[in-house]
């Protein structure tokens, strides 16, 4: 069981009269600027839980306090007010020695500018955490070697960081954190200094690694696309406060305020929205035992050109189009089986971007859950609408979109 993190009423104020500023903020709430002159509030009234084994992304522009927040989670920066718990142990009450011990055993960190030690080889860098933990030389070199392999850096052990490209350097940074074998990983803008192609590659690698390792990850970024790609849940920060916490889809489809909706305007919706969030409820499906007349009646009733056919378990087995059904009636078939055509099935969590290639031909896509039961349909027009305004995307069961 990997650790979870709880953060309660966290404040970080810089300046000589920081405590005073916090008490003003606590008493009166309100604006940060108005608190006490000469103080800067970096983190204000922040509470959240990071669940065991999830990637929790904190997203915000520079100056929003996200890096400060991260540094309070492992105690590199002392908190001005509030509490941080790792599982049920309060980190904010620990002595300096205890907190160093906690970092050795439970938390490691990946830095924006890699922070590799230039006077140590790649292998020695990766072994740093283990060295601090007091592991024997043989053990730490073995485990550092393993984690370098994990990030694909076999053969680079004896190079120096400066001999590596940026992407490779950050892999060393990741390997150093992984080798320490802590169950919490703090990542501070870890991929922000990399160029876009490498960044994407690193994101993929992190997701793959996470599937194997299942660590609790707190990931800081200013890049919304990155946040949506990586985050199981995302906290959006603005001027020290968290304005919304939710899944990528929740933030995209139901932004908490104007700031968030402004923010999500440019996001690549096709990669974030899933079939489940753009599908129509399956109002137009008939059992495979139904007659062609029933199928036609449903089409007319619902104003759709096509209905899906489901078996007795509710799994989609085909689709019937209006001309075929009419033809079937003329020929006097008793069930729709003769008229049905094959239908493409997609899982509910398939990204919209992948639906485009799946949706060939005029037939709608059948969206199924894990057990294969029909839960909705996606018409091509709904796909296009999903890429447009937020309001059009979710649960739009519009028969007028049928053609």
């Amino acid at each position: 069981m990997v650790s979870s993190i709880q953060v309660e009423d966290l404040y970080k104020v810089f300046g000589r009269r920081a405590d005073e500023a916090v008490s003003v903020l606590l008493r009166e709430g309100g604006s940060v600027d108005a608190a006490v002159p000469g103080t800067t509030a970096a983190v204000v009234d922040v509470s959240f839980d990071v669940r065991s084994g999830e990637i929790f992304v904190v997203m915000g522009l520079s100056g929003s306090g996200k890096s400060t927040l991260l540094r309070m989670l492992n105690g590199i920066l002392p908190v001005t007010h509030g509490r941080v718990y790792l599982d049920d142990v309060e980190l904010t009450a620990m002595s300096a020695r205890q907190i160093r011990d906690m970092r050795k055993r439970h938390m490691s960190m990946v830095f924006q500018h890699f922070a590799l030690f230039p006077h140590r080889t790649v292998l020695q860098n990766a072994a740093y955490g283990l060295q601090v933990q007091g592991k024997s030389k043989q053990e730490r070199l073995e485990r550092a070697q393993e984690s370098l392999s994990l990030v694909g850096l076999d053969g680079w052990e004896n190079r120096l960081p400066e001999q590596l490209s940026g992407g490779m350097q950050q892999r060393v940074g990741l390997a150093r954190a992984l080798a320490a074998d802590t169950d919490v990983l703090l990542m501070d803008e870890a991929f922000s200094a990399l160029d876009p192609l490498i960044r994407r590659e690193m994101q993929d690698q992190l997701l793959t690694l996470q599937q194997q390792l299942g660590k609790t990850i707190v990931f800081i970024t200013h890049d919304l696309n990155e946040a949506m790609r990586l985050g199981d849940r995302i906290a959006v920060m603005r001027r020290g406060r968290i304005v919304q916490i939710g899944t990528a889809e929740a933030i995209l489809t139901a932004p908490a305020d104007d700031y968030v909706s402004e923010f999500v305007r440019d996001v690549d919706r096709a990669r974030v929205l899933t079939a489940r969030s753009v599908m129509d409820k399956p109002l137009h499906a008939v059992p495979s035992s139904a007659s062609p007349e029933e199928a036609l009646r449903m089409m007319h009733h619902q104003h759709v050109p096509t209905v899906l056919v489901v078996d007795e378990k509710g799994a989609p087995v085909g689709a019937v189009r209006e001309p075929d059904a009419t033809e079937s009636v003329r020929q006097g078939h008793s069930t729709v089986a003769a008229a049905q055509r094959p239908v493409t099935r997609v899982q509910g969590d398939t990204a919209v971007s992948e639906l485009f290639s799946a949706a060939s031909g005029p037939a709608p896509l059948a969206v199924v859950d894990e057990r294969g039961v029909l839960i909705g349909v996606v018409h091509q027009s709904a796909l296009l609408a999903a890429l447009g305004e937020v309001e059009h995307a979710p649960d739009r069961a519009g028969p007028e979109e049928g053609r």
Binding site: N74, M102, R105, M109, H119, Y128, N158, L160
Partner: protein, 296 residues
């Protein structure tokens, strides 16, 4: 109307700073005299034995040793230059004095480094300490060199003792400053990386900050050595042996030729020491790692 001349006549009363200072020095001398004597004797015997060591072998052997050291640290050109330079010292009959001066510089330099580096580390770790140390260093660096000699003579008599002590005081400042600067310039993220993996402050200092600050610290050592040389020559005025005493003698007797020869000897020693210590600063942790990685 009568108040006006009163204002213009007013002046700051005489402040007896000098008297107070000599009182303080006198008090220290009365109460800690034996302590200062012991230091003076210790320094004297240290310099004497070091100089004895440097002149124990035949001069041509020592010239070769200096040349080989130069060759090893900087290559054949500097090795050859050192060979010529030290041969010239011998030709000017100042090799013995130069070795005495070198002993003084080494001893004062080592003591200054031992004092300066920890002070620099302290200044880098604590802003309060830095605020105290900085003006003291400013003071030590800007007081005219000769002024150091007066209390040094009072405390340590004449000879090696006052020379070394005055030299240490005068040469300290750049070592402290460059150590503090070097450590403060280590990337904040690098230090955070140490912290994030649970390193203790001592481990971060010795494993990350000092190795990465090494080029700056070694530049400080270079400055300490150069200032030591300059002060050791001045200390010839208070009977500190070596090239300084020779220069001082030539000056008081207005011996133009001898003065020129001793001047050239000081320059040769200065260039040699500067190049040698400068090449040490190139041997930083990163460059050593670079060489090792290149070899692998």
């Amino acid at each position: 109307m009568r108040a006006v001349p009163a204002v213009t006549d007013w002046e700051v009363p005489r402040i007896p700073l000098g008297e107070r200072f000599s009182e303080l020095v006198g008090w220290l001398q009365d109460n800690l005299g034996e302590f200062f004597d012991a230091i003076s004797e210790g320094l004297d015997s240290a310099v004497t034995s070091l100089a004895g060591l440097l002149t124990w072998a035949p001069t041509w052997v020592m010239i070769l040793v200096f040349a080989l050291l130069a060759l090893w640290l900087r290559g054949w050109k500097f090795g050859l230059a050192a060979l010529v330079g030290f041969a010239l010292l011998d030709g000017l009959d100042s090799f013995g004095s130069a070795m005495q001066t070198l002993s003084l510089v080494l001893l004062a330099g080592v003591v200054a480094v031992i004092v300066a580096v920890p002070l620099g580390v302290l200044g880098a770790r604590s802003d309060t300490a830095s605020r105290v140390i900085k003006p003291v260093m400013d003071f030590l660096q800007t007081v005219p060199q000769f002024i150091y000699l007066i209390p040094a003579v009072i405390f340590f008599g004449i000879g090696v003792g006052p020379g070394v002590v005055a030299t240490v005081m005068f040469a300290l400042a750049p070592g402290v400053r460059l150590t503090e600067l070097g450590i403060r310039q280590v990337d904040r993220e690098m230090v955070e990386a140490g912290e994030a993996f649970g390193s203790s402050p001592a481990r971060i200092l010795t494993g990350i900050q000092i190795p990465l600050a090494m080029p700056s610290i070694m530049a400080g050592v270079n400055q300490i050595i150069m200032l030591s040389l300059s002060m050791v020559v001045i200390a010839g005025m208070v009977g500190t042996p070596g090239l300084g005493a020779d220069v001082f003698e030539a000056t008081t007797r207005l011996q133009l030729g001898a003065g020129f020869e001793y001047g050239v000897s000081v320059v040769i020693l200065a260039i040699y020491l500067d190049r040698i210590t400068a090449s040490l600063s190139a041997k930083s942790a990163v460059s050593r790692a670079r060489r090792l990685a290149g070899a692998a």
